[in-house]
Amino acid sequence: MSSVLYDVPGPKARRVSLIGSVIGIILIAAVVAVAVMTLAQQGIFESQRWAIFSQADVWNLIANGIGATLSAAAVAAVIAFPLGLLLCLMRISDIAWIRVPTRIVLEFLRGMPVVLMMLFVLLVFATSSFIAVVAGLVLYNSAIFAEIIRAGIQSLPKGQREAGLAIGLTSFQSRLTIELPQAIRRMLPSLVAQLVVLLKDTSLGYIVAYGELLRAVQVMADFLGPQYLFPVFFVAAAIYIAINLAVSRLAIWIEKRGSKKAAGGTAHVPVAGTAPAK
């Protein structure tokens, strides 16, 4: 590991670093051990508390919770993305009476807690909890998607738009056919990262009693008894983190793949004077 920030460590620095690392790892391990032991003393790891996981019904409920989490996230993402595109186009429109109100709406949506939007939809429009959760997620995330794509469009070289206009495309056509596709590809990692946020935010559905994973295990722990709260919660947390990590990994994979493609792409376009010698 070499970095521009510091010299390649010599033998002494390596030794110091190694000793520091070992001490650090021991410290962290000690903290974790104390925590685990404290919990164990309270009987949280007794096998009977975990035996509930041998029940098919328990896994059924957990599966239902995962299903509820994923379906709300999926529906919200499918609606929020096109809506975000639309909001983005309106936000950068040439027409002031479209642009300005959109900007205010975006500012508003970005500044409101998602739980508040969910509760508002549930109470004021008297919807089911599923619709309230999806609506809350859509309202917030479409605004964020719009902002991300806008940032992508602004990061494009000016020449892209100018070239589009020069060949006679209207402003809107240039946005739609030239700038948007590039912006989306460029911002794909950010968009997927936002997808993880959306997925995580389904857990805010407790506010409207939506039966997503966390609430499913909460209701289950209420039913089984308080001694099962920690086991079911640890399992739910592990499942949540696993799902999100998987989606995040996907983001990293896309990022790598994208950059490879981009790098490969430029190699085929020799810029004047820098053509690789053969």
Partner: protein, 293 residues
């Protein structure tokens, strides 16, 4: 290998035994009672009863997180006293228990669900109040609860609601008991998402008491009698639970009221109680006087 197998087996047995134990501790939740269904009951044409009866199914709103009254079981179906009342009523309409669609209603959306016809009935620890009566109709009451306080077993300083002035009391955000304890008795509210979420802070002595309807607290005390107790057996509010239905459906309302009285007479009211909340709260309730307004 064999020893391992038997050990595993015995572990499984122990596991299911523990589970069975915990299930029975939840107050007869194992009872999936099916009250006898009325055969071809006849109702005045155009009445809500006739419509539901001929449709052969009914949608009932209840809570999924209220121990003893309406709580989602491991099989995904709610169990509790409210659920039993719902089943009894459905049976009188000629609808078997498996044709009831149970919808989760939370305190915040009950009136709207009735108004919009998303549910036919709501049996969900639903306190009858004049304010709510302007939006929906209530049959019953079928039970009268009251607000109470739950404290740690070793706490003797709180015995009445006046004792919590200036002290931290946990309750659910946006619930009526929370408003009452703050506005009437000057407690400092510590809000939680569910009543069960109040147990940990109470156990850790971060709050002095938990407050809500006595029947809910009794469920908690029953599960952990060594940790918690009710501050007093007296309640300081009256919470008559009614059955919510669409406003101005007077025929349906008085039919339900008639049925409630009939349940009381033929003993099915008592049976429903004993199968659910009765496992925890030993004093069987008397059906309160029906409020035929």
């Amino acid at each position: 290998m064999k020893a391992f197998l038997t050990r595993r087996k015995s572990l499984l047995v122990a596991a299911s035994a523990a589970l069975a134990l915990s299930l029975s501790a939840c107050g007869g939740s194992s009872s999936t009672s099916n009250p006898p269904v009325a055969e071809k009951p006849s109702f005045a044409a155009d009445s809500t009863m006739a419509k539901l009866s001929s449709a052969g199914k009914i949608t009932i709103g209840t809570k999924f997180d209220q121990p003893l009254f309406g709580q989602k079981g491991l099989d995904g179906k709610p169990v509790g006293f409210d659920v039993e009342i719902g089943k009894l009523l459905a049976a009188k309409l000629g609808i078997p228990a498996d044709k009831i669609e149970w919808v989760e209603t939370v305190s915040a959306n009950r009136e709207q669900f009735i108004k919009q016809g998303k549910v036919d009935l709501i049996v969900a620890t639903y306190t009858i109040s004049d304010k709510r009566k302007t939006e929906v109709d209530f049959a019953g009451p079928y039970y009268e609860a009251g607000q109470a306080l739950m404290v740690n077993k070793d706490n003797s300083s709180i015995t009445k609601p006046e004792d919590v002035k200036g002290k931290k009391v946990c309750s659910v955000t946006g619930s009526t008991p929370a408003s009452t304890i703050v506005e009437k008795y000057g407690a400092v509210l510590v809000p939680a998402a569910t009543y069960s979420a109040c147990l940990e802070p109470l156990r850790n002595k971060q709050v002095e008491a938990v407050t809500t309807d006595n029947v809910i607290l009794a469920g908690f005390v029953n599960k952990e009698p060594d940790a918690f107790k009710l501050a007093s057996d007296e309640t300081f509010t009256k919470e008559p639970y009614g059955i919510g239905l669409k406003k101005d459906d007077k025929v349906f309302r008085s039919w339900i009221n008639d049925q409630l009285e009939a349940f009381d007479k033929d003993g099915s009211y008592k049976k429903a109680w004993e199968a659910t909340a009765g496992a925890v709260i030993k004093t069987a309730p008397k059906l309160p006087a029906i409020d035929r307004y």
